[in-house]
């Protein structure tokens, strides 16, 4: 029996900021001070506040330490764990808190206070490599209930009634997907899990797999029972090594306990799960391409119909859901469809996990009820833009989504409200942009991504996106005319309507929505040959203000191409022909005499 638990985050974010060393240091220091039989050290999944990692939470008082280094560990052990005096200097400081000493425990912070954790409920709370801890929080009870008390039809009805929709991007009602597949007769059926999270900036699926892998396994077994399948596949990116390891451990433990395998709970129901690793092609997140890839072929989409519910993996009826969707299922079974449907608004029920990134103070994962205003996410939970910059827009849904400009900051974030302004929730990536971001450049960034990731099967996507990128390059280089902008728009709609799969059909979205909301920025690039945000290199120059320049020569010394000249103690000058616009001079100047124009 341990009197205290030290939870150290072992998600990918905290692992890269050095949490493995912190765990080791805790184990060492605790045994050195003779506390190793009193205090347990537990490696957990992601806590969400990745920007402040490595994160350490000490229970029972839930003291929340941020940015803990291995050097800090002896102090935490001797002060907090032995003498009960929390190490104040390491406690997370809430940037929004009125009284900065008010925050001690996790749930007091602005970041966590407004969140409702359903899919992430166990992330950062349990040891994902220990099945007993998952069972201790009620794990596998839902599977037990389904197998012993419910018919497959009742299970499907429960999921239908909950109003759960696909969390991977499409937003298709999960229960309906299952219902369409269940009656199809075949010698084999399959349950697939899409863990090929490819949107730049989205990492909620990774965190669920790293922090609570059993919830996905349990949900897949439930789905298997509902549609009459005995085999599941999880298609996970090989770039997620921690997630892959924990999934392997979880599957092994579940098999040892007989929670996967044959005759589960003595009911005669068999279900097994295998892993398939993806090599990281974005298109493999598309359902038909994903199945083709599991079959061992080159990951390319195929036309639908036939839909996977009829003819999917290996030509058999198949359902495919995303990781976060599955993570909701066991709780819908245990707490009931009504409970789930009580959260959210309109046709968007439950909660959604968003990955906040870009120009935001609290980078990380947040889970909130559907319909939460964007302002709450950006200002309260996210803590606003760093350095007091002005919030300009947020890109949702990654390269398939659109941007929401600051003027829509009070929009409720759910499937339908975002669709109204041409945006999607997508998988839940939210990239925040401030006044220093150029919207044309953002559109270009996402289009470069889709051009790279287009599988090349259909012409509209393969060639259309490339021509669009060329037009965008022309605009950012200041060589475009207003005709080009019209052409770009036309082409965008053409690619959208003629592409074979979701990748191509959504690839033009960032362009369409930035033109819609930030047309003036495009026009500034084309007509005034000016980038308002000062991002597009071809359209701006570094200039030394002669009045402010003291002639210290610092800039001339750092310039890598020798573009700066001038005499000592006299104003210097930049040769714009030679200048490569690296910005080194501006960073070096102590007198703020250099500006972008």
């Amino acid at each position: 029996m341990y009197r205290s638990h030290v939870l150290v985050c072992g998600g990918t974010g905290c692992t890269s900021s050095g949490s493995a060393k912190v765990i080791e240091a805790f184990r060492e220091e605790l045994s050195k001070q003779g506390l190793d039989r009193e205090v347990a050290v537990i490696q957990t999944g992601c806590h969400g506040l990745c920007a402040e990692g490595p994160i350490v939470v000490v229970y029972p008082d839930a003291t929340f330490y941020a940015r803990v280094g291995a050097d800090d560990v002896p102090e935490i052990v001797s002060e907090h764990l032995l003498k009960g005096r929390p190490v104040t200097r390491l406690i997370y400081k809430d940037p929004n808190a009125v009284d900065e000493n008010a925050v001690h425990s996790l749930n007091d912070t602005e970041f966590y206070k407004k969140q409702v954790r359903v899919a992430l409920r166990n992330c950062g709370v349990i040891d994902p490599e220990n099945i007993d801890e998952y069972i201790g929080t009620g794990g596998y009870q839902a599977l037990g209930k389904v197998l012993t008390e419910m018919t497959p039809e009742q299970v499907i009805q429960e999921v239908l009634d909950s109003g759960l929709r696909g969390r991977g991007g499409g937003g298709f009602p999960t229960g309906l997907k299952w219902k369409l597949c269940a009656p199809n007769k075949a010698d084999k059926k399959f349950v697939c899990c899409n863990a090929d999270e490819g949107d730049p900036g989205a990492f909620m699926d990774r965190s669920v797999l790293e922090g609570d892998p059993h919830s996905v396994l349990e949900a897949m077994a439930i789905a298997g029972y509902a549609i009459g399948s005995s085999q599941g596949y999880i298609y996970v990116r090989a770039e997620y090594p921690i997630a892959v390891d924990r999934l392997k451990i979880a599957i092994r433990q579940a098999r040892e306990y007989g929670l996967l395998g044959e005759d589960i709970f003595g009911t005669g129901f068999n279900f097994n799960i295998d892993l398939r690793l993806g090599a990281g092609a974005f298109v493999c997140g598309e359902e038909t391409a994903l199945m083709t890839s599991i079959e061992g072929n080159r990951g390319e989409p195929r036309p639908r119909p036939p839909f996977p519910a009829v003819k999917g993996l290996f030509g058999k009826p198949t359902i495919l859901n995303n990781v976060e969707t599955y993570a909701n299922i066991p709780q819908i079974i245990m707490k009931g469809a009504e409970w789930f449907a009580s959260m959210g608004v309109g046709k968007s029920k439950g909660t959604k996990v968003f990955a906040l990134g870009g120009k935001i103070n609290n980078t990380g994962l947040v889970e909130i009820p559907m319909g939460t205003p964007l302002r709450t996410i950006i200002e309260d939970i996210g803590g606003g833009c760093p350095n007091g910059k002005k919030f300009k827009a947020v890109q949702t849904g990654g390269p398939s989504g659109g941007c929401i400009p600051a003027s829509y900051i009070d929009i409720p974030v759910d499937y339908d409200h975002l669709a109204e302004i041409g945006c999607i929730i997508g998988s839940g990536g939210m990239i925040v942009m401030d006044e220093d971001n150029c919207m044309v450049d953002i559109a270009k960034f996402f289009l470069e991504f889709t051009v790279d990731e287009s599988c090349g099967k259909c012409t509209a996507c393969r060639i259309g996106t490339r021509r669009m990128l060329e037009l965008l390059n022309k605009i950012t280089e200041g060589n475009a005319t207003m005709d080009d902008l019209d052409k770009l728009e036309q082409l965008a709609y053409y690619v959208k309507t003629n592409s074979l799969c979701g990748l191509g059909q959504t690839a033009p979205n960032p362009v369409i929505s930035t033109i819609k909301f930030f047309r003036h920025e495009y026009e500034a690039h084309i007509l005034d040959k000016r980038c308002p945000a000062g991002v597009c290199k071809a359209l701006m120059n570094y200039i030394i203000e002669p009045v402010d320049c003291k002639g210290c020569t610092a800039c001339a010394r750092v310039c890598p191409v020798g573009a700066i000249s001038g005499e000592l103690k006299k104003p210097h000058e930049i040769d714009t022909e030679k200048c490569i616009k690296c910005g080194a001079c501006m960073e070096t100047c102590k007198f703020h005499a250099i500006s972008k124009r």
Partner: protein, 125 residues
């Protein structure tokens, strides 16, 4: 796993362990003074006794056992304070593991303050 009962058994075994990590609003807090004076007077066995018994008896969703620093009455250490929601704080002094057991049984479970160990009983106010 051949039956739900097996699953239930694991759950019950593990529940007290993971419940320590839930933050309930109306939990009773047992706070043990663990400053240098407290540790010297033997606060650690008291703390450990409370912590393990609470988990053994499956009470960790209702009772939180934690430490605090010096309460300021070093000659009465080990000191244990019990905060029950909506009730006045009870302070026990000169505790040991056996007394801790008694307090757990009679006060935390039974609901009767063990007067003889309290600070009030010693004449201190």
């Amino acid at each position: 796993m051949k039956s739900l009962a097996e699953l239930q058994a694991i759950r019950e075994k593990m529940q007290s362990r993971v419940n320590m990590r839930s933050e309930g609003a109306d939990v009773t807090r047992v706070v043990v003074g663990m400053a240098t004076c407290g540790i010297a007077a033997g606060a650690r066995p008291v703390l450990n006794e409370f912590a393990s018994k609470v988990q053994e008896k499956g009470l960790s969703d209702k009772i939180v056992v934690s430490q605090t620093g010096c309460i300021g009455l070093c000659q009465y250490e080990p000191i244990v304070e019990i905060f029950e929601p909506g009730k006045e704080k009870v302070t026990y002094i000169k505790m040991d593991a056996e007394k801790a057991d008694e307090v757990l049984e009679r006060h935390l479970i039974g609901g009767h303050i063990v007067e003889k160990y309290t600070m009030a009983a010693s004449g201190l106010k």
